[in-house]
């Protein structure tokens, strides 16, 4: 178990300034919780670009191949069906289903990857640092060791206060 020190801001611009200050002081920010996506936060925390776009691409590629390949296999190899003398390998008429499956696989692969990478899902038990973090508070969370000395904690708290935090709490 470790302890968390949280500092809150009530405006996203103060938050961004505060983060710069906190980082300059050499503190390691564990997490920043905001009620809505704050622009510029990715950069301030150096969060890399998400790779979920690649999952979407590969999901779509699998869907397209499967959708087109399956229809082609059914109508040319498994059970060729003469429908009004039309060609068995009818590429244009395989397009709609292939397209729909591309979208379906791409969307689902990406969303499933999103939940897995964030460890979100039904029954997930998150640590709620401040119930107003989803309302109007912008939270900076700093993790400290369970047995950290008092001085270390008060040192961090001072650094956070210097960075313009409007309130600081320590949670075991």
């Amino acid at each position: 178990m470790s302890k968390y020190i949280t500092a809150y801001y009530s405006d996203e611009e103060d938050l961004l300034k505060g983060i710069g200050q906190i980082k300059a002081d050499g503190l390691k920010i564990m997490d920043v919780l905001t009620p809505f996506p704050v622009h510029g936060l990715d950069k301030a925390l150096s969060i890399p670009r998400s790779r979920l776009t690649r999952v979407a691409f590969w999901g779509g590629a699998v869907g397209a191949t499967l959708g087109f390949g399956f229809q082609a296999w059914v109508f040319t190899i498994d059970y060729p069906l003469n429908i009004g003398g039309k060609p068995f390998f009818a590429v244009p008429s395989f397009m709609p289903v292939a397209f729909e499956l591309t979208v379906l696989f791409s969307a689902f692969a990406m969303v499933i990857a999103f939940f897995l990478s964030n460890k979100l899902g039904p029954g997930a038990k998150p640590v709620i640092h401040d119930e107003r973090a989803t309302d109007d508070r912008f939270l900076v969370v700093v993790e400290v060791e369970e047995n950290s000395p008092e001085e270390r904690i008060s040192q961090i708290e001072q650094a956070l206060a210097k960075a313009g935090a409007e309130g600081i709490t320590l949670k075991a």
Binding site: V32, P35, P37, D42, Q71, V103, A107, F115, P126, V127
Partner: protein
Amino acid sequence: MYTSPLREPLIRGNKNYKQVTDDILSPMAGKPSKYWYLGIILAGIAALFGGWATFRTVFYGIGEWGLNKTIGWGWGITNFVWWVGIGHAGTFISAILLLFRQKWRTSINRSAEAMTLIAVMCAGFFPLIHMGRLLLGFYIFPYPNTRALWVNFNSPLLWDVFAISTYFAVSLVFWYVGLIPDIGTVRDRAKTKIRKAIYGFLSFGWTGSAKHWSRHETISLILAGLAAPLVLSVHTIVSFDFATSVIPGWHTTIFPPYFVSGAIFSGFAMVLTLMIVTRKALNLEEYITINHIESMNKIIILTGSIVGIAYLTEFFIAWYSGVEFETYAFFNRAFGPYAWAYWIMMTCNVITPQLFWFRKLRRNVMFTFVISIFVNIGMWFERFVIVVTSLHRDFLPSSWTMYKPTLVEVGLYVGTLGLFFTLFLLFIRVFPVIAVAEVKGVLKSSGENQKLTGHE
């Protein structure tokens, strides 16, 4: 960031983040108003009527409907296309307007998407029940079976199966992913233990971590990019049901774009109908402002005009083609026994929405409400006209006939309306009707207080 001083704010009143949360979530707390009860009772009665009609159809078969040998598609398909079309506005607002960076979508996208999901459910009901043998409904999916048969991948009806089910699944995921942060907000404000547990479960453990938000932004954009062509494909494929046949009046290449714009047209009309009532009933007039209504009215004029041009083009081509059967089909539509339906369609879809060229009328809430109902009616008649008038004059004059719906068919339609409003009324009690986090995201750049101080 430069913001035009002429552009009016998207959110009225001097709101801060807390007030936004309070305003939007307050309708979920406490007891529902008596109007809500009245609404759900009326909708419930309509749904029961539909339940009775469903029972008759399943128990006695399709013979309960007014269809005959010549007119094999009637109200069932009309309602199916009408409901799918209505669904299109939700995806248009949440996906296409997101890609176009239209900030005004944030106030209406959540409920429009919910409307999409409910409308697609109502739509899906009609083909299912039209099969007659509901228990064999799974035959429409390709699965390995002892008959060693697959489905016919050359049939637009099968494309519909894939299009509608993909559309429903992707819309559901898109809606829910957007909803998760707001469910987190509801969970954190919940007073009772039960509410906390339920919303805690539904929130999937959302905390608003910066990394999660970053990924959330990415997938929202990609999902919008996927949903945009998807929504265009769905009504395109629905139009193929008609366009790939050889019935005069159906066999036209203009159908896909004409159906898609008609779908967005009718969908926006339904969004307006719902939003005008919702904003009043839930006191959300500061979020869904007159500017939002005006923006939607502009889309109504645009899509309504496209639909109007399509009607005229069809008529022109029918004459210009020199094909006498084609010419007859269209002449019969406008002046034959179903002319009344045709002229209702023309009036409601082409003529009345043009009044929105006047700014005063576009910004009049009552007037907009009336026109939105007109468009809903007009677009229903459009599908009725396409389906029935094209069929009722068969290739052999001896099979020419007329079609009248039975009470059971009326019951099925009224029943889906009941289901639609029941589910929508439940939705506004259970989930935030406006995307709270998204509104907060645009508050600084488009809120009223920021405009006054000239902040950024």
